[in-house]
Amino acid sequence: MKKPIQNSMIAKIEGHGSLNINFKAKKVELNILEGERLFEEMLIGKSYEQTYWITPRICGVCPIVHALASVKAVEETFRIQVSHSSQIMRELMMCSQMLESHILHLIFLSLPDYLGVDRGTEIYQKHPKYFNMALKIKKTADFIAKAIGGRPVHPVTITAGGFFKFPKIEVIREIKIQLQNIIDDAEGLVNLALSLKYPALYNPCEYLSAEPKLADEFPIYSFSKISSSRNSNFEIKNYIKEIKELVVPYSTAKFAQHFKQGFMVGSLARVLLFGNRLTPLASQYLNKINLDTLRFNPYYNNLAQALEVLHYTEKAINICDFALKNGLEKPMVGFKTRAGRGVGVMEAPRGILYHDYTFDSRGNATDINIITPTVQNLAHIEEDANFIVEHSDANESEIYHQIEMLVRAYDPCITCSVH
């Protein structure tokens, strides 16, 4: 077991954070050390088209969802209704975003903890079956993101009004074939996630997820409100009153609270709130699991991510089928800039993402507020870490390692959190 090195950077998480564990006082501080990135102020005065060009650069792991939340905020402000084809192509991009981000997190960052290796690529030597599974899913995700967005990291085809261009219908056919070829791998990933031994933890919290407009749909692109596991649902536009962001002295990221407490967003929250809306195969696996085991144990976020990989693979196939049957309309609708405010909300791989923009009549930004999923999870990561230090009778090294694993299970995106 590695000796705890207080305040050294936590490995295998996106961005720079460290743990300061006071074993005597039984108190953990999650230090966020990224330099302040100041995106919200950087965007003031920029034109609307630069908002969805610049904001994907908040995160290289989930740039697609930032681009989509951003363009939705612009479209809501200018009252643009994109075509149904644009909507489903954005949904297909979101499927690829979920697959890509979850695979990177599971294989390179989290799974090594469970398989007893260090670097993710060691899985290639020790468990080639798992690694090849992940490789195939990642390739398919990248293929989809490139086919629709132009490239996987920082898409280039998204514009207010829809897309600059759509892929040819033959490409959609090829996407579908690739997706069908990874169904087995996605199932393999779920089986792998089901076979892992997750540390025990039971620390009740509130789960929040954006609720899809359609009553039978699992979160993907269109949302009606924010749904809470504690019956404290709220309207999207009221997020600013509901979610309070606190500045803490040891962090360049803010810590968000709801009702003065930490809460959890992301895969586990989505599966707990909307698990009955998963696609057929993913549902079959979910039905084998007792949801009460997952509830209030954040380590199971990894299992929820694996279930989502299967779900979004199936969902993506359905979208391809629809496009192949009905064809695609024109990619872009015309629009005029106008003064006003728009809130673009999305379910990012790590949870709810808010982009809230105000523009002047020429389409230049005058006010910007962004809340990322990790900002919402930070307070509860700390609450869970405190819970472990308070209740565990393991030695300090083991506790340190368990808390590192906890942080990784949340899949924090620290670069996103310091935006």
Binding site: L38, K46, I54, P63, D118, V156, F163
Partner: protein, 255 residues
């Protein structure tokens, strides 16, 4: 130049990231099989994003992504320079200042107050490219860095050869791929002055070139500015150029 390490035989590589989006490291990992091949030929001895057990150096090659914004990062950069034979900047944040450089040092204080609070104690100092602090041996440009370009640059380095920048502009690749010229259609584009190596991916996707790969040698900004000013105001031009090039002389000369 040689990066052969006689003791270990394989050259030692360190991959560091400063403040940024980590998208260039995602590109590196997305090389997949090519990454595994590359990995066989080197010892990755330090990589916080990828592994827990990290060696303090010295290193044969140190690859740095991101902008050194905090004092800690700026100090670390100087240490890394001292203990690395070859220092490589990866991606626009490292090579040009990129998106983070949109915020100038002067603006930072007011922004901290607005985003955080009146009495917030900031960590960030400034957002400038690596070369503003230490000599850098090679720059792998792009936002994100292009996968093929990463592979080409690293393969060259492993072969003991310093990779060379692309000697022609983005326009060259764009013309070969065939999208209509944006400038002819009076739409902004920095293709003529920007270094190639991206296959004009943005222009082909429908967005103009924002110049994330830096200047091509012999870039004729005077001529491009004249063309752009036919359909853009000076302010619009400044805003456009500011996206990746705020820390460059070309942007400063627009003021």
């Amino acid at each position: 130049m040689t990066i052969q390490n006689t003791k270990l035989l394989k050259p030692t590589i360190a991959i560091y990231d400063f403040t940024d989006c980590e998208g260039c490291e995602v590109q590196l990992v997305s090389l997949l099989e090519d990454f595994l091949q590359l990995e066989k030929r080197v010892e990755i001895v330090n990589w916080r994003l990828g592994q827990e057990h990290n060696h303090p150096g010295p290193f044969d090659v140190c690859i740095i992504e991101g902008t050194p914004i905090t004092l800690l990062e700026q100090k670390l950069l100087k240490e890394l320079r001292a203990k690395s034979k070859v220092l490589v900047g990866l991606g626009a944040c490292a090579t040009l200042g990129g998106i983070p450089a949109i915020v100038s040092k002067k603006q930072r204080n007011a922004m901290y107050k607005k985003i955080y609070s009146e009495n917030y104690k900031p960590r960030g100092l400034d957002s400038l490219p690596l070369a503003n602090y230490v000599p850098v041996d090679y720059l792998i440009h792009g936002c994100p860095a292009d996968k093929a370009d990463i592979l080409r640059s690293l393969t060259d380095l492993l072969a003991g050869k310093m990779p060379a920048p692309f000697p022609y502009p983005v326009c060259m690749e764009c013309k070969l791929k065939g999208p209509e010229c944006r400038l002819l259609n009076q739409k902004p584009c920095l293709g003529p002055v920007s270094q190639a190596g991206c296959d004009a991916v943005c222009v082909r996707g429908g967005t103009g070139c924002y110049g994330c790969r830096g200047n091509v040698s012999g870039a004729n900004w005077t001529s491009l500015k004249k063309t752009l000013s036919q359909f853009m105001t000076h302010d619009e031009m400044k805003k456009y150029v500011s996206v990746f090039l705020s820390a460059t002389d070309e942007y400063k000369n627009l003021k």
